[in-house]
């Protein structure tokens, strides 16, 4: 069952440097209980896509086209009041840096209680009991007393747990996690990922996980969107993406990371060049200037998203925005 369906989303930022077209026509769907990974480098539009869905863009940000249907309702047409009923209740978000999303002058518990009271008709005592329960759920030790601690008294890992507790306060149907472990050490990242995955499966909650780390994607997601230049370049079930990456950008990304198991000292294969300037993106495929397989046509016209039923070059459930998927294009071996 489709929980969220984003169609033709476009967002831009009006800056002194000109209009930055951060998201240029993104389609994606999230089924109930599914974990969708969005992977991409900085400036690829992955965070802006998710912030657009909740209309949480900064002041210069504008959504210029598209729909975001959540259980059939278009979030982009809702009023601010209607949206704030949904945010924190049916859809919750956690960010990379928990310190900047927590109010330093309030106890962590007070902030969780505030969310519960905003969305549920319960007494303050009931809300507090729920907060303690949530702290237990995210395995904050001594939950009963830690509820009354201030954010600065928590370590980075514990703050992220508190943020997760707050996000889970109203049993959301969809959790958007924007680089939730990027600021954390690797052993703490392992704890948080295990926790998120465990809670997600237990509560049957859907999750969008935004990250730049292909390892995190491989370990947590069911399906993956690879973004570049404000577009989804490839979408695939997680196993297919790593076994048979079809877009040259995805293949480039996978080749650029050292393989821990294959030993050492093999020369890395970087992707040449740098990502496009989104104030002046290339007219055709945004990856064409860096693509080892680019053809004349790639520079001229933006490729559509080919799906598995269009072309024998894609496996089941896979789609790719690449002219190489066109039946008339030359065969390129990966």
């Amino acid at each position: 069952m489709t929980l969220l369906s984003v169609q033709g989303l476009q967002s831009e930022f009006r800056t002194a440097r000109g209009v930055v077209k951060a998201v240029r026509g993104v389609d994606l769907t999230v089924a109930a209980g599914e974990v969708l990974g969005i992977v991409g480098e900085s400036g690829s539009g992955k965070s802006v896509t998710c912030m657009s869905i909740l209309k949480l863009l900064k002041r210069q940000g504008h959504i210029t086209a598209g729909k975001a249907l959540f259980q059939g309702r278009d979030l982009l047409t809702l009023s601010e009041a209607q949206l704030s009923d949904i945010r924190g209740d049916e859809i919750a978000v956690i960010f990379q840096d928990p310190m900047s999303s927590l109010n330093p002058t309030l106890t962590v518990g007070a902030q969780v209680i505030e969310v519960i009271l905003r969305h549920r008709k319960v007494s303050r005592a009931q809300a507090r009991a729920r907060a303690v329960e949530l702290f237990d759920l995210v395995r904050i030790p001594a939950a009963e007393s830690r509820v009354d601690a201030y954010p600065h008294e928590f370590s980075g890992g514990m703050r992220q747990r508190a943020m997760i507790a707050m996000a889970l306060a109203c049993d959301p149907k969809l959790l958007i996690a924007d680089e939730p472990t990027t600021a954390l050490d690797v052993t703490i990242q392992r704890q948080i990922l295990t926790l998120l995955k465990d809670i997600q499966a237990r509560m049957g909650m859907a999750m969008i996980l935004i990250t730049h780390d292909l390892g995190v994607i491989a370990e947590t997601c069911d399906r993956v969107c690879v973004m570049y230049g404000g577009l989804v370049m490839e979408e695939a079930p997680v196993k297919a993406l790593f076994a048979r990456p079809s877009h040259p950008y995805t293949r480039g990304l996978l080749a650029a990371v050292p393989d821990l198991r294959d030993g050492m000292r093999q020369r890395l294969s970087p992707i040449p060049g740098s990502p496009p300037d989104m104030a002046d993106p290339p007219p055709g495929c945004p990856f064409a200037p860096r693509c080892p397989a680019a053809m004349v046509h790639c520079v001229a016209e933006r490729p559509p998203l080919f799906i598995a039923t269009d072309t024998p070059r894609l496996g089941g459930g896979q789609s790719a925005r690449c002219w190489l998927m066109h039946p008339d294009a030359p065969e390129v071996s990966p």
């Binding site: 690797v186 370990e219 821990l260």
Partner: protein, 331 residues
């Protein structure tokens, strides 16, 4: 002599000062007795979680911080208490590349001036000859002559790191300390920078101290790797030894924590418990015992020394040959 750097029981503490109004401030033992050598021409990787003291160690090594105790030998010379004036000549031979090139480059200087600055300070060449040297350096790091007149904000993160590298190699140093040089860069750019560092090492015979928390990249680039925990080296071994046969339970837990870009890979059954304790309040005995699945009374009573377990594989653990009961197998 093949050792470029030798650290002997190096210590760097912060705080502990104070006066009659503030009272005595607590002592933070950031680097707490580190002994290691860096061999000429090698890349010594240094890994550990934030707060383990790896950056402080690097900064103390090049005397940006005054050591609290211990000794630093650089190319056979004891530089622990070398006066600043004499230190200048030594510092020319040790350079540093920082994580955030934007923060470490003066935004009001053009690229040409930034790269020429170390040459000027060292008094090398004339203005005209320096211009040629700078052009050569920029070309070497993949920047064109058209970039020379531009300012740092006009560049991408990867290009800025190239400027930082050009500055670091301008004086032909022996030792380059790379402090998280690729952590702020995108994946596709990281490989470009790492390949360049490897090429420069081969061309110029550089020795690297490569500090990172990225355990995949450190394996790729390092000859030997040291693992730091709470101000101490807990394990130090050749690259393959460390990854294929880690002997310290902390190293095993670290390696098991790395997310693997393969959906079919085996995951550890249980993540390592707990967090790194505060360096203001270091546990007695083994510093890792609070998180260690193997800890016994001996570990609480006595701090294990860093000892050679055979073939230069150093480990500071009372039970270097035990297997962890809780951790799954490391992949």
């Amino acid at each position: 002599m093949s050792d470029l750097v030798e650290l002997i029981d190096l210590k760097r503490y912060f705080g502990g000062g104070g006066n009659r109004f503030t009272g005595v401030q607590p002592v933070l033992r950031a680097v707490d007795g580190v002994s290691l050598t860096i061999r000429r021409g090698e890349t010594l990787g240094l890994v550990g979680e934030s707060g383990c003291g790896k950056s402080t160690l690097a900064r103390t090594l090049i005397r940006l911080y005054r050591p609290t105790g211990g000794r630093i030998l650089f190319d056979g010379q004891d530089i622990t208490t070398l006066p600043d004036r004499d230190m200048q000549a030594v510092r020319r031979r040790m350079q540093m590349i920082f994580q955030d090139p934007y923060a470490s480059l003066n935004g009001r200087m053009s690229v040409a001036d930034l790269v020429a600055e170390p040459l000027e300070i060292a008094g090398i060449g004339t203005r005209a000859s320096r211009r040629d040297t700078v052009a050569g350096l920029l070309e070497r790091v993949g920047l064109g002559p058209e970039h020379a007149g531009r300012y740092p904000h006009e560049f991408s993160g990867g290009q800025r790191q190239r400027i930082g590298i050009a500055r670091a190699i301008a004086l032909d140093p022996d030792l380059v300390i790379c402090d998280e040089p690729i952590s702020a860069l995108d994946v596709s750019i990281q490989a470009q920078v790492v390949n360049m560092l490897e090429d420069l090492q081969a061309e110029r015979g550089l020795t690297y101290l490569f500090i990172t928390h990225d355990l995949s990249m450190v394996r790729h680039i390092s000859t030997r790797i040291g693992v730091m925990y709470l101000g101490r080296i807990v394990e130090l071994a050749a690259n393959a030894q460390l990854y294929e046969r880690p002997r310290h339970p902390y190293t095993r837990a670290l390696l098991a924590s790395i997310p693997v870009a393969d959906p079919g890979a085996r995951r550890p059954a249980t993540p390592m418990r707990g967090e790194i304790p505060s360096p203001l309040n270091i546990p007695s005995g083994c510093r890792f015992r609070g998180r260690c699945p193997l800890a016994t009374d001996l570990c609480a009573a006595q701090e294990p020394a860093l000892q050679d377990a055979g073939d230069g594989h150093l480990v500071a653990c009372h039970y270097p040959d035990a297997t962890d009961p809780q951790q799954g197998e490391t992949t």
